[in-house]
């Protein structure tokens, strides 16, 4: 288990190593609070109107829903794939059936995702 903690250590090391860059930058860079317009969000030179984050529906939201299903499926396939050498050859059949079901579902979802008006 020590190995997994090393990933976290690496993560922590990067945080500790990079935070000084921001702190030094904050220390040596000029800080002029002269103009409130300076701190407005980017709106191409105009005064911003409306909220920055709104209810914003990309028309491709269906793909994200598919991801939720297929990511799990992919990891499940890894459990099978890593032990393939030890398994009987006939175990491919249920996997193919499983993939068939998933492909059917995926084809339907892809077909539906072309309809922009479902969202």
């Amino acid at each position: 288990m020590a190995n997994y903690s090393q990933v976290m250590l690496m993560f922590g090391f990067a945080v500790v190593a990079m935070a000084p860059a921001l702190i030094i930058s904050r220390m040596i860079s000029p800080r002029k609070r002269s103009n409130p317009v300076k701190f407005l969000p980017m709106e191409c030179g105009q005064v911003p109107s409306g909220a920055g984050r709104t209810h914003f529906m990309m028309q491709y939201y269906a793909f994200i829903l598919m991801f939720v299903v297929f990511d799990v499926m992919a990891i499940f396939l890894y459990a099978w794939g890593a032990t393939l050498l030890e398994l009987e050859k006939s175990t491919i059949l249920p996997i193919i059936a499983f993939l068939g079901i998933m492909f059917g579902a995926m084809a339907y979802a892809l077909n539906q995702s072309k309809r922009r008006d479902i969202w």
Binding site: Q6, F13, E43, A74
Partner: protein, 432 residues
Amino acid sequence: MSVIAPKFKLSYFIKSLTDNIFWIIVLLTLIGIPIIMIVLIFVDLPVHDGELVNPFLAFTMIFHPELAVPFLKSIIYSDFFKIAAFPGFGFAALLAAATIFAERKLLAKMQLRVGPFYCGKFEGILQLMGDGLKLISKEIIIPAKADKPLFWAAPVLFVATAAAFVALIPVAPGWVVADLDLGLIAVFAVIGFFPIITVISSWSANSKYPFIGGIRALHQMVSFEIPLILSLLGVTILTGTLSLSEIVHAQENYWLIVFLPIGAIVFFISMLAELERIPFDLPEAESEIVAGWLTEFSGMMYGLVQLGSYIKLYAFAGLFVVLFLGGWQGPMVVPPFPEEIITEGIQAGPITVQIAGLPIVSQEMLNGTLWFTLKTVAVIFFILIPRGVFPRIRIDMLLSIGWNKLIALAFVNMFIAVGLIYAGILGPGGIW
């Protein structure tokens, strides 16, 4: 009297010099030495000759060559060195910096211009340092309505996640920060953090363009993660393991790209998309949404995100090498360490020193690192080239490529792998 310093006087100059030297000495004594002490006390100190190396012993060792070598060795083989320097952060950051420079020069050559030229005597080699200095001395402007803690954290988290990714890449036999049994799964887990960070930063900026860019990044990474994961299924099937080091060991005779070219192509394309490089740089498409999710970043925050993305690039290139190009495997080109240095010692003037414990690192490690670096550089080169050749693609094209074509190809790849196993070409009875 020059124009630059009209009030220049030699005596003042000498005074300022002596002042500076004085303060440097004072600060070093008051701050530097305590820091060294603290480091020596808290860092895991090696046991040498049955005796724990205490700070005072360590100090003596540093200046004693016969003792210094084992001490150095113990440092190099410590976890901290692995994390901070060699297979970890330092190595990755060095390669990332080299990549930035190489990219600029390479693109310049493709586009019939010279690229960075003036900073540094040779071909603008110090340009990167200049850029870094510029970025660090620029003001960091944070939009007034932003969620400040999240906004500050996002660039640091980005670099840190990229570093965590680097931790999983084996560079040479035994030289990996975290040698996991489920290394491949861990890679997917770490990759999964990038969209989250992107969305966090774009959400916290509270501005329209970063928001759209973040949503685009989410779509892009999400739709390319499935092909990315599935394209590596073939590797797992053929090698029967999820550990990256063992995958490399399995490629002793044949590189996996020989058997799984389709998987390699799918992985390469997904990699480009995950890295947000042209032609998949939709989240930063500057002509559509200013700079995408990077719009509100300024100064060093932007610099950190750039550093993080190039570290990520190195990590992905390294992953490609590990999975498909045989990792550190390659003919032995590093000459063996000369035995007579250990047996007879080094003749340095009147003194002959016999140093126990040399060589510090093994021949395999040097050779492996050399081959790994060469292959990684080659892959990075191929990642850089599309930027000069392709325009950016559109998000619906991207999604349809990801979901329709690449996933299908990934499954083709998987069945090729299964077929190779079941036909007996590879696997227990085959040529493996």
